[in-house]
Amino acid sequence: MDKTGALSAYRTMRRIREFETRISKEFAAGTVPGMTHLYIGQEAVAAGICHELTNEDYIASTHRGHGHSIAKGCDIGAMALELFRKAGGICKGKGGSMHIADISKGMLGANAIVGGAPPLAGGAALAIKIRGQRNVAVAFLGDGAANQGTTLEAMNFAVALNLPLVFAIESNGYGEHTLASYAAPGDLTERAAAFGMHAEKVDGTDFFAVHDAMTRAIERAHSGNGPSAIECVAKRWHGHFEGDPQLYRPKGEVDSLRKTEDPLKKFRAVAQKKKLGSKKEYDQIDEEVRDEVAQAVEFALAAPQPDASELLTDVYATY
């Protein structure tokens, strides 16, 4: 990876961190309606998986989808409007945090149903295959969704139909409030491999490891060698949802993660060693992103709610 690529990947990760840190504060202040599930701690996964993707590649996301959305190129301003349920939101304020989508960017939607996305990503991969395109689809799923029948069906289906599909399994330690070690006792990489696809496990806090694995998966898909699975291990720093008291989490775990498992700190350390940009350049990205997110949130807070007429629009194309 060259310097431009590294700076761009870091900007994606910083955007996710900054956006969600601000959303967390806003949620605590009571300005964000509904439920919000934050991605902080897993930034390197979204950034690493999406780095090589174009608008013609598809992703299907999860309820914890802000990071995937930002990494796939969704506009932060329109996302902020959506989170506050305002007019001009990326889904006109009718989807909210768990349904961010931008079809024009190949982002087929966050998904509030655990295990909802893998079958849909299978469909996007099938569309790519039928049209003979050189693209891929990605199914993001957590260790919780790995136990859903829909995921297992989608994995077998992808192998049977030899689809250009990548399962990005995010092992973040917890399925809602239950430990993955309890609910998914087997090894998820081996589970995926058992369907007959290439599967590997990587450190999900290491952008470069995720990116390398994804580059190999894309190459397999482009060569007609079917689906792959990449299990990315990276614990989430926040609760299942904002406001979750997290009584299930060992004391001190998050402090320890912040110190030793911060994907952004890790990235900067590697980038410095590989001479992929100066400290000043990375600091400048931090500053630019701070301003960008602050502006997006301030604008969204001040924006009007959707017009009452929107209640009845977009149910059908015609009726």
């Binding site: 006109k92 079809i103 069906e153 629009t313 194309a317």
Partner: protein, 336 residues
Amino acid sequence: MAIKTFREALNEALREEMQRDKRVFLIGEDIAGGMGGHEGAPGSSGGMLGVTKGLYQEFGPNRVIDTPISESAIMGAAAGAALAGMRPVAEMMFMDFFGVCFDQIYNQAAKFRYMFGGQSSTPMVIRGMVGAGFGSAAQHSQALWPIFTHIPGLKVALPSCPADAKGLLISAIRDQDPVIFLEHKVLYDTKGEVPDGDYATPFGVANVTRDGEDVTIVAFGRMVLLANEVADKLAGEISVEVVDPRTTSPLDTEVIIESVECTGKLLVVDEASPMCNLASEVISVVAIHAIGALRAAPIKLSPPHTPVPAAPNLERLYIPSVAQIEEAVRRLHATG
């Protein structure tokens, strides 16, 4: 115009739409028939329903796709491909199997347009065989259209004759929204005149299959045939109008209300279980919009609130019959 079976009419619609639009593809279990077997197997049977026969030979494995027995994966594949710009037609064999993949239908495909703020279309058709009559029991005989009619974002088509089977399926494939397309298993071998070539029967436009002045029968799917039989039998004695709504979502309430305003007598025949079925809906619509026209209490003719039994004698008792329809018409005619 030629005489064709309901099954042939469906096959013709699929073939013509696939020729017209290369985004249209078929996906389901055994629809090519015999993938992985000997060379001559695919395409020879047309699957369980026989509807897709010959299409594999014409369009090949990229557009007539056999899958593992994985309903959620099939339904997700259709919904995901539709989001990605294709026009899938998924065959789910028996409508009873929709239960296995309900999430992909009602939480996913049905919701995308609204939930994503109108930026997406999900043009997909989900075909399934419905209804009792073959002794196939409780998990292969249901008439579950009220469940799907209930869900905003879905449309539901219920053809009763070969001409509508073709015209409604063409409309379903061209629709920008997910359509549940239901084929009654007793109708596949019924015959009727089918116009040649390309015609789309619009959704939400009822077909008045018999004109009459004394009693209105609103009937759905296969029940239209039974209602027509009664109307013909009673001709000269009682003048019966039969309304076939063709689609339950959207529902043509206008034609129903007009008919009841003329006859003042309403019988609704729906093969779906009685609680919250289409008969309930039609009677509710008439009560709200045309209660002054009613000269007798409406009659609702549906199966009892039980699963579909397997024994042929019990199944015959379960399904609304010509005798019951005739009796209800006579009762209405004698009242008011």
